[in-house]
Symmetry: C2
Amino acid sequence: MDAEEFRRRGKEMIDYVAEYLENVEQRPVYPDLEPGYLRSLIPSEAPLEPESYEDIMKDMERVIMPGITHWHSPYFFAYFPAASSYPAMLADMLSTAIGCIGFSWAASPACTELETVMLDWLGKMLQLPESFIAGTDGQGGGVIQGTASEATLMSLLAARCKAVRRVQTYTSDKSEVEIFSQLVAYTSEQVCATLGTTPSCAFDQITELGPICNGENMWMHIDAAYAGSAFICPEFRPLLNGIEGHSTVGLNGFWYLKIFFCLSTPVNRVKKRTDIIGAFKMDPLYLKHENQESGLVTDYRHWQIPLGRRFRSLKLWFVFRMYGLQGLQAHIRKQVALAKEFESLVRADKRFEICAEVVLGLVCFRLKGSNELNQNLLKKITNSREIHLVPCQLSGRFVLRFVICARTTESRHIQQAWQHITQLTFELLQEPNH
Amino acid sequence: MDAEEFRRRGKEMIDYVAEYLENVEQRPVYPDLEPGYLRSLIPSEAPLEPESYEDIMKDMERVIMPGITHWHSPYFFAYFPAASSYPAMLADMLSTAIGCIGFSWAASPACTELETVMLDWLGKMLQLPESFIAGTDGQGGGVIQGTASEATLMSLLAARCKAVRRVQTYTSDKSEVEIFSQLVAYTSEQVCATLGTTPSCAFDQITELGPICNGENMWMHIDAAYAGSAFICPEFRPLLNGIEGHSTVGLNGFWYLKIFFCLSTPVNRVKKRTDIIGAFKMDPLYLKHENQESGLVTDYRHWQIPLGRRFRSLKLWFVFRMYGLQGLQAHIRKQVALAKEFESLVRADKRFEICAEVVLGLVCFRLKGSNELNQNLLKKITNSREIHLVPCQLSGRFVLRFVICARTTESRHIQQAWQHITQLTFELLQEPNH
């Protein structure tokens, strides 16, 4: 495929993508097929000679689309929002075309520098304390991690490294592994200090946890993977109160903003960049460059587990500028309002109960009654394939999670979803066993 | 931005990308600027209100492009090949548009199943033993990891988990951390058993290492991050001989094929999938699905550190089919031939020496003489910005690495690069200090 053919195929692909996203709500949101369906539809080996592009695109509808759970359907209410916006997609195309690997400043200066500045923009949007901002000579700063799990793992490793060094300053005869065996990580049932847990979007009291961590000289990591981005709205920002006083804190999150960024934008923020760099520094000769001696340079490979990294901050740049802070706030408020609308519908039906406070875009609800009853209701919902949601367990109870996910979900989808749920409930309660 | 505007902007972006890649060789391959250049070119905070798309695209040339190291310039000979092909870019657009997160089979069956089958295709292209193939009921199989570092880390964690379990079967009173302190990982100067090291593309003798690992019941991990993909050519496949006999082996790699796939396609292959899954299994209720009980289902979240994962196998599918095995082999052979061409040029000039056997696309060379002399030559090359390469250290000697990287590098670029290097050498040797 040469550049000319790419121009033609690329424009066809733009139309295919636009068509897909405009009409995704007409596809069944959850696929109806058996595990292993795909293997029998395609050859068991790669072709020796090139195939035609037309044949591959035909197979998109024959092989791939029947097996897709459509995360961007407005009837998708499962897990948490994934990621899609047109500006982010355009930025993604640019990032792929530039195709640099930003493991060091020299490997592509714009890739590193735009990331630093975009995470400062984000830090200011979140009204983080000055100490979290890189600025021109700050000690803090942020990094885009590949996934939220990596962000948490990085924080954990950095905390361990820091603790080991502290112990070694007063007991130089102890080996690392001996010290490891004495380290303690405190977690709750949901892992670490969390703002917006996955099952129910619950919030830990950072203002209470913080002083304890400070007093005991403990690293505090806050996971705000889902809720973090909502803090760009002043009305939600108080949920983050309490991070100011900490000597050491990691903060990851921003799934919500991923609605705009597409995948892969959890970020880690640290107050002291040396804390996180200390755990991971690696400097082989082939990665050294003249400017790294200057102290002005960030080499992000020291901030993460992977060596390589894409030019991911382009997405933030496009999205921040094309929506503006007010546009992003408006979107978050709309998602929350839709969740509140669903909550009202549930509360108005006495057969149902709300199982956790609705703060952002997640509504936890269930039929009053046994877990089995709710399991059967979810089975009916899943099998109908008109809407898609997943359960969680709260204090031993089987609960249904309804999350506003797609960027294109509107009030009419909420109303239809609720009508559908009540219809299935009606059928369920008619069945002889109930 | 609505779908209509996306159609328009998307097509403009396709033209921008095609134009960029067609003419990238006319840009200076390595940027000429000081650390911190970018911050002063853009505002210090995100805009409150949306900006125009035209303004953002204007800033691409004003702010971003001057700070790019052009990895896809045919004059880029640094590090290792990154990643670019037109079919891979098209697949990437699709993957972004579908935007599913494939942490479980149910979260998007096609995402999981295509990955399993594509890695079987790749396994067969590499003529891996049958035990590495998933098939319909195999115990082996592959997974696409985010980066090569994660692939290696996964293997290490899986090996540790397996060793701890083995020790616990005969000493049940020992804690995990006590066992950790007794575990030993054997590495060479380049980390683990490696096929194609980063500094010089050296190859470990797997046929010798293998029986030792087998005899001692050790997990063997082979890093073939750079060289792995070349094994799809029968003439390079013998370098992989020796993996057949192992009870446990991890294999990651395929940077070379990344030329076609764009970023993020290192894969881990295992002979026994339960070994790798054991270290990472996590099953909260909200990720459970009906089909997982069937035993037919792969939930890739257990194979990796992150929870989320993109639909990355689409790239493999597009690339395997649009190039065919023969097209991929032809490309690898061309890259190797270009490296051999450069090697011949170096060998014909008695002032230079070749520092390591040229097996694939990397040529390690230096001026006969001091490290300082070679450092000065590299400085001249870097400052000229006509070609870009990085050094390595081999047995205490400062060595220049010349890697065939871009898909579009041709003989004329090699010839020009060599002419440029000899011209700078001539100037260097004229200087008073020499």
